[in-house]
Symmetry: C2
Subunit: 239 residues, 2 copies
């Protein structure tokens, strides 16, 4: 997107490399002190630059650098989730197993990149608003989860074993814009399931990353695995 053609000159190559280096250092500092403390001067210092003003050749402002990190974060997280979903190692797993795989991928990514995770799913950085560019990357994960439910529906038809309450009209209408963007005849109930799965997944991961389970659960991974399975089953993903 930002590199529409191949680098032709040495200068251009250097520019691309150095841009990546800036982002790498910024990510490292993010991991140490959080988003609010990300400072161009500190990044310049760590890069060995004589002054922070050099960075303005690469990013027009501090916020632009932050935006680039957010975009990269969404991309990296979505990549990990999609890779887990289509992992070729254990044959064609059913929808529930793939759901659990996606859950672990998201959790693993969040635990190894806690501050990037906080950047995209934590409290918004005050005074900063993410631009529209991020939307495309941000929606990849929920769409991936939706695909799991679609697949399950195709396998077995809509046979919810759970006694789920009927969806009232106001809730159904609340999804109208989303439903028109999806293939026709997508059941609103299934969209609801997908959104709930997405909500739960990030609620659980946020709790763990932000420390709300530290005093409560001794083996977070085992706990997480079970909750993912139970939720998947409760939402109708079980075979």
């Amino acid at each position: 997107m930002s590199t529409p053609h191949k680098p032709r000159t040495a200068r251009e190559r250097a520019r691309i490399e150095f841009t990546a280096e800036i982002k790498a250092v910024a990510r490292r500092q993010l991991a140490e002190s959080g988003a609010a403390a990300l400072s161009l001067r500190a990044v310049a210092r760590e890069l060995g630059l004589a002054s922070a003003s050099a960075l303005y050749r690469y990013f027009p402002s501090r916020d632009a650098l932050l935006t680039a990190l957010i975009l990269d974060g969404y991309t990296s997280l979505s990549d990990a989730a999609e890779a887990a979903c289509s992992a070729p190692d254990s044959g064609p797993a059913d929808a529930l197993e793939r759901w659990v795989g996606v859950c672990h991928a998201v959790r693993d990514w969040a635990l190894t990149h806690p501050h990037e995770y906080a950047l995209i799913y934590g409290s918004p950085v005050p005074g900063y608003s993410a631009p529209q560019d991020t939307v495309a990357q941000a929606t990849r994960l929920p769409y991936l989860i939706g695909a799991l439910f679609t697949e399950r529906l195709a396998e077995d038809g809509d046979s919810p074993a759970d006694s789920r309450p009927a969806m009232p009209d106001d809730a159904r209408q609340s999804l109208a814009p989303l439903l028109t963007a999806l293939p026709p005849h997508t059941p609103a109930d299934m969209v609801m399931s997908s959104l709930m799965a997405w909500t739960y997944l990030l609620g659980a991961v946020s709790f763990e990353v932000f420390g709300h389970r530290r005093e409560i659960v001794t083996d977070p991974r085992a706990f997480f695995d079970h909750e993912a399975r139970r939720l998947g089953a409760a939402l109708g993903l079980a075979p």
Copy 2:
């Protein structure tokens, strides 16, 4: 806790009042610029003080003020949730209805106090770690949710209509410390349900407060009401 006896002198009364005033102003500024931007100098300015140093008579540091706000936040949120749970207006509602009531109370509180909400359930403030004092207040909400499941269990025995997967040993053992703190014979499965309900509730509220549903759901309240009901039913709260 911080006021073990009644104020006796005018000075003491003034001190208590002014402490509350400081916190109120700090909360207001929190709502404008977020936790990272909370500054003693700005608070002093808004209070009409000549200098920020006066605040050191009331709070030993900026972090101490932040801690007080966090503690108040937990208290206020828990109060709201408990009030909703024992609301006397509509007679003795069943467990599911009370669960939905608690959900709405938490959501309403979060929407009217978004920055305080971010302070307690959002990404941790970098460089700041909440002291142990907050734990007692922080656990009130999950315990309240647990009580709903206990109540439901007492009503009907454990008859999970949903085909929930069995809890593996490692997950069960992960809850060992929590189970010893609870009344004996509390089923691990029910604890699991409570924790999952808690996780979902805050996941959903965080999504809404942090803006991840802005482009997706047009009537957030209707959506939230339905998801709360569906989740409650899926976790076994339905009659």
